[in-house]
Symmetry: C2
Subunit: 424 residues, 2 copies
């Protein structure tokens, strides 16, 4: 689906949006979610919506805890792998056995980054960029401090995202690991995962990708790029629910070589033999640690299945079309008010969200909430609009941006307090 | 409640058990759980039962995800602290602000053990014992290997548990940390937390306790012992559900001094300012890492509240009485068949489970399951009977052990395959 050019009425009415919705091959997926009001939800990249099947599965899982009790673990014990396999084959272009659900994204990043550094002894640099998500930067800061290593932080244009050239220039024989986000959390810019992975390999380093904003939003070419390592969350575009467990990916042929630092019993060979020495199993399970959260895992499973059912190519195409439509509306309606598109304009370079820049972005975000539209605010001056492809309609984009235009026209956002202003 | 001595009928009939149930001040709490069949559940120390209020709260939380979406985080963001405060004041003898829900027990042990070692630079030994839970031993093995330290593993009698004397003898100025379980996972033996903590302090070391089998089962004298650090799970005696998040405790005056190694954004000061440098907040929150699991946290909250409502002293007294009753029945009925009580006999030295030793413990556990009784098996030859004090009745203990006696009398367990035997 590519956005055609405007009819003579466009964008004064939502006729084009209605046409686009009518032609949307994923339109029927909206009925698979709990949507009980007229809210225009443009923050599915912070927390995705609740699928009907997830509500049903969670109610069932709660009941199974009540009746099956400890016997439930006969099934639950493999749940993290089951979700991993759905993600591998239906969402991430990986192979069954290369992905497992585990811990939080931050803990997974710590485990895999530490494992990568240990696999490149003597090399003392980790490369990242200053537009990487805060928790990623902090985790890497902690790692290099503990190990006497150095964090080489690239300066990235936060609208355009990190470039392969910049990474290439930062690489030398001292680099153990390159750790970046695949889709930038502010701009939505897509990093060139294949080129950066190839550059890292050429320098003898490993590459670790944070897929939090890309899993379920865009194609993630792990297999074709020969990607080494990745982590990501399931509560954004994968609709796994608040605080749902994260996932990690380790390429099959790297698994035996890598050792993560948190030696928990869920990574142990013959776990319930409870042997004396830690002896990690030879599979992706060696990157597991403690008892996995069963309810969160079921929610992640249903969410991942829904994306797999829709097909990641169709999901990515719709996310791109929604974003392109938002950019056109912004150019037409909002640019006169000083709103600037702060995301790449080329579909292939953008994930499933679009970020707008405006000095009063915080107040605009509050005014939008009051007007029944949920966007996200990101420091310092960004309004972030996320497009969950499985449930966002073109008419939602139209109406959301029309309300933003009306707010700007009436200056009604000025009635909301500035960020960090104390309300007495 | 102390177990009186048997009537003339005892233990041929369950009259005493019925009397004890009639006098049980916690009896009414059984009605607060989902119990829909005649199963005799003696494995609440592996996975506790589902409270009615938890089922209701989880259904509500799922609905709130559906309708509130990202706005739910206005409440959810403090949930880990809220649960921590209930645990601190109602379960653990700590102060609000000293406990927080976070990650898994294994990950928490890693964080706090690493923080403790960093706070004792130059000291290169961690003391633990060979009866500590496997994941604890593995986590510590990984830590000492990564840091060039040494793990000093005490040999502990697995029926009696670790002694303060043995720990004292292992201490010297090289010891950074003593890491032990408060209640032993096999025998249920209670370690002398105050004496061992005092001994560690005298040697200049810190002490880190795993409370997984004691939180919600026995009194945990953190405050009176001046305990440093603790971790534990919420899915056993706290009835938080399968894979519910774990908790960690750091004494208030230690919090500013300690730094854990996984620098996630939930430990960051002014988290949503997303600052450049990691700058951990000065509170227990600095030991948080990634986005907390909301459903699991609500379940942990309801479970913790239920124990707090019952009162930990009453809960501990009932657990001890159930155990004492089980030991009496075992001595009377099962000893002739070679079953040996492998737990301390003194109530004050035993948690809320009793372990029995028998060469065919695995087959006995399978025969019990087939007879409608759920025990637990633990290597190498242990049958573990857990007594969730809020829902286990004395008649359950009576009936469970009567069925075990009948199995032994009829040798019906011999019909079940031996452990690791392949069934074709």
């Amino acid at each position: 689906m590519r956005l055609g050019h405007a009819s003579s009425l466009y964008p004064v009415t939502d006729i084009l949006a209605r046409d686009l919705d009518a032609a949307d091959p994923l339109a029927r997926f909206r009925d698979r979610f709990v949507i009980e009001d007229e809210l225009i939800y443009l923050d599915g990249n912070s927390l995705g919506r609740l699928p009907l099947s997830t509500r049903e599965r969670l109610h069932r899982a709660i009941g199974e805890w009540g009746t099956d009790l400890i016997r439930g673990w006969d099934r639950w014990i493999t749940l993290s792998r089951e979700v991993g396999d759905v993600l591998a084959t239906g969402v991430l272009d990986a192979t069954p056995g290369e992905v497992v659900l585990s811990d939080s994204t931050s803990v997974n990043l710590y485990k895999l980054a530490a494992a990568a550094c240990a696999a490149r002894p003597g090399r003392r640099v980790i490369v990242t960029d200053d537009d990487n998500f805060p928790t990623d930067r902090y985790i890497l800061q902690g790692l290099v401090e503990a190990r006497g290593m150095e964090l080489r932080v690239l300066k990235t244009d936060i609208d355009l995202g990190v470039s392969a050239e910049a990474v290439r220039e930062a690489l030398d024989p001292d680099v153990a690991l390159v750790s970046l986000s695949h889709v930038a959390y502010r701009s939505g810019a897509v990093a060139d995962l294949p080129a950066i992975t190839a550059a890292a390999h050429q320098a003898g380093a490993l590459a670790l990708w944070d897929l939090s904003h890309s899993a379920g939003a865009v194609r993630v070419p792990l297999r074709s790029a020969g990607a080494d390592l990745a982590v990501g969350c399931t509560y954004k575009h994968l609709n796994g629910g608040p605080g749902a467990p994260a996932f990690l990916y380790v390429r099959a042929d790297l698994q035996a070589e890598l050792r993560q630092p948190i030696w928990g019993w869920f990574g142990q060979r013959d776990q319930f033999d409870m042997g004396v020495e830690y002896d990690p199993v030879e599979s992706i399970d060696r990157f597991q640690v403690g008892t996995p959260p069963v309810l969160g895992a079921y929610a992640a499973l249903e969410g991942a299945r829904l994306t797999a059912e829709a097909g990641i190519d169709a999901v990515a195409a719709k996310g791109a079309a929604l974003g392109a439509y938002a950019i056109e509306l912004c150019d037409t309606w909002l640019a006169p008010y000083g709103v600037v598109v702060a995301s790449p304009r080329a579909d292939a370079r953008r994930g499933a969200h679009v970020t707008l820049r405006h000095p009063r972005a915080w107040q605009l975000s509050q005014a939008l909430r009051a007007a029944g539209v949920i966007p996200d605010f990101r420091t310092p001056d960004r309004l972030r609009l996320g497009f969950g492809a499985l449930y966002t309609r073109f008419v939602d984009v139209y109406a959301g941006l029309a309300r933003l235009r009306d707010i700007l026209t009436a200056d009604s956002h000025l009635a909301f307090p500035e960020r960090h202003a104390r309300v007495t």
